[in-house]
Symmetry: C2
Subunit: 311 residues, 2 copies
């Protein structure tokens, strides 16, 4: 099945305890698209400025991502974000945000992008997410991201958008904030009640959990002794998750579970190097080897306890 | 195999958002012993005062826990702890601690307790843990707990004790504090290097992880919409873990993995009611039903990704 992503394409400046980059390719649609491209054909919808060069386009082209719907504003500048991570790599400290051409981004979807069976609405203004969703009536599985900023400033708009989606992929602080519920399982039930088919809660170093009407599935994070650069990990997760779903004709509970693993696999690679460096150079044997590692990390034999009669 | 636990027996006063109890049976050896008693025969080593009554002894007796090594100081009072939990049930706020007879606790192990193949050293003074361990030369698998107070005030003594044990069961903040390592996987490697066979890191609502020389195993927490009273959850986990190990002749990696699940199963029951109420009334079908629930929460089919040639 085809997959369309709508979101930011950006340049990032990054500083972590392990090094520094002044300008690397970033943005939600970029991280998502690269990750998903290993599993399916991706249409990316976004906007860039005249500073977006051949080196950047080549990354998309290498992964056969359809860039027809990435608008170019020749006299504008691409969205720029600068951030720093300390040893606690869970929190990004924003140093600078220049929205540039992204500030007035109006997604324009070609017929090809509109006809995708799967759609991912990366973190943009909730009303814009909803408009895009409504332009894609044939989409069978629509997932969205959001962020604390929208939840605190326009919670109703976020909820309105959730109501027209099938799945939301957010972190646990966002889930709590959205529902005013400290208990994550109660928060999850409230969010599912907006009419979702699936809810993915990302928990950073603790992994991710999937809630569906049928049940609950938990994946640990891949054990990494060094997280090099966490930027884009969430979008890379979403790309692996949605890309894997798109490689199937039918989205069953079993497929959703494996999609959680492939999302976790891709996110675990993403944080090993700066920006898109690691995913850009990834291959299928590496992906499947790490998938098998997740199986080893979580497998146990289902042998019920029977007390020995002599005990 | 036989199992001995050395630790506190106490009365607790508890206050949570869900209710309040002025005096319930508590203590590490109590929670551990009750939990382990579902899997094996347990010898409890501890001390109580003259205020410890028939109702309390009956709880031990009902679960066939050997209480011969619980000393009674008739003119003393039992260890008393009073605590409060707010809606964030992860942190206990201590209101009152009266060590009473526990202050001068000198564990006295009978030949029966000394000859156990498995030994659990609950959270007491590290030097005392080490002395007990040295009294049990035939113990084949010795696990210990500790706490932030000992790590900050006598880290070397804690490490000396770890060096004579096979396993330590601690929470992630303690693992970080013990090693001055923010990354939990690096912290784990440092702790394993003290010569352990297994390291269990408890992560509260995020579950628990097992590190061995062979690998890494992660278990999520059981999804609970209400944590009623978390007191004793860690010791209840340890009791399920060690009790399950004791029900096997040989402790393999597979057995350790299932022990992690049974530990998590028992801890998840413990928090559903005050004190020992829930575990005291538990039965085997409930235990095995929840064990199977852990399987459902974590299982996925190991199907590597193969890109369709037409994609």
């Amino acid at each position: 099945m085809s997959l369309t992503v709508v979101g930011s394409v950006a340049f990032d400046a990054l500083e972590t305890p392990f090094g520094k980059r002044d300008r690397v390719l970033g943005g939600a649609a970029t991280h998502f698209g690269l990750s998903a491209s290993f599993f399916t054909k991706v249409n990316a919808v976004g906007v860039v400025g005249g500073d977006f060069g051949d080196a950047e386009w080549d990354v998309f082209k290498r992964h056969f991502i359809n860039i027809d719907d990435i608008q170019v504003v020749p006299d504008g500048m691409t969205f720029f974000w600068s951030g720093r991570y300390d040893y606690d790599m869970n929190t990004a400290h924003t140093l600078d945000t220049q929205l540039n051409v992204f500030e007035t981004f109006q997604p324009k979807l070609s017929e090809n992008s509109k006809s995708a069976k799967l759609l991912f609405l990366a973190n943009i203004l909730p009303m814009l997410q909803k408009q895009v969703r409504e332009q894609c009536p044939s989409a069978e599985f629509v997932a969205m991201d959001t962020m604390n900023f929208w939840i605190s400033s326009m919670k109703e708009a976020v909820i309105d958008t959730i109501r027209v989606c099938d799945c939301i992929i957010i972190n646990d602080a966002e889930a709590r904030q959205l529902t005013d519920e400290p208990n994550i399982h109660r928060a999850a039930r409230k969010i599912m009640d907006y009419g979702l088919r699936a809810l993915v809660i990302k928990r950073g170093e603790y992994g991710a959990t999937l809630f569906t009407n049928d049940g609950y599935f938990a994946v640990p994070a891949y054990p990494l002794e060094s997280v090099f650069d966490p930027t884009g990990a969430g979008d890379t997760f979403a790309g692996g998750f949605m890309g894997y779903l798109a490689s199937h004709d039918k989205i069953t509970d079993d497929v959703l579970r494996r999609a959680m693993i492939y999302g976790s696999v891709m996110a675990s690679f993403n944080v090993e190097k700066f920006g898109t460096e690691r995913i850009d150079a990834l291959d299928y044997p590496e992906i499947n080897e790490r998938f098998r590692a997740f199986k080893r990390m979580t497998h146990f034999d289902e042998i019920p306890f029977e007390r020995a009669t002599s005990a």
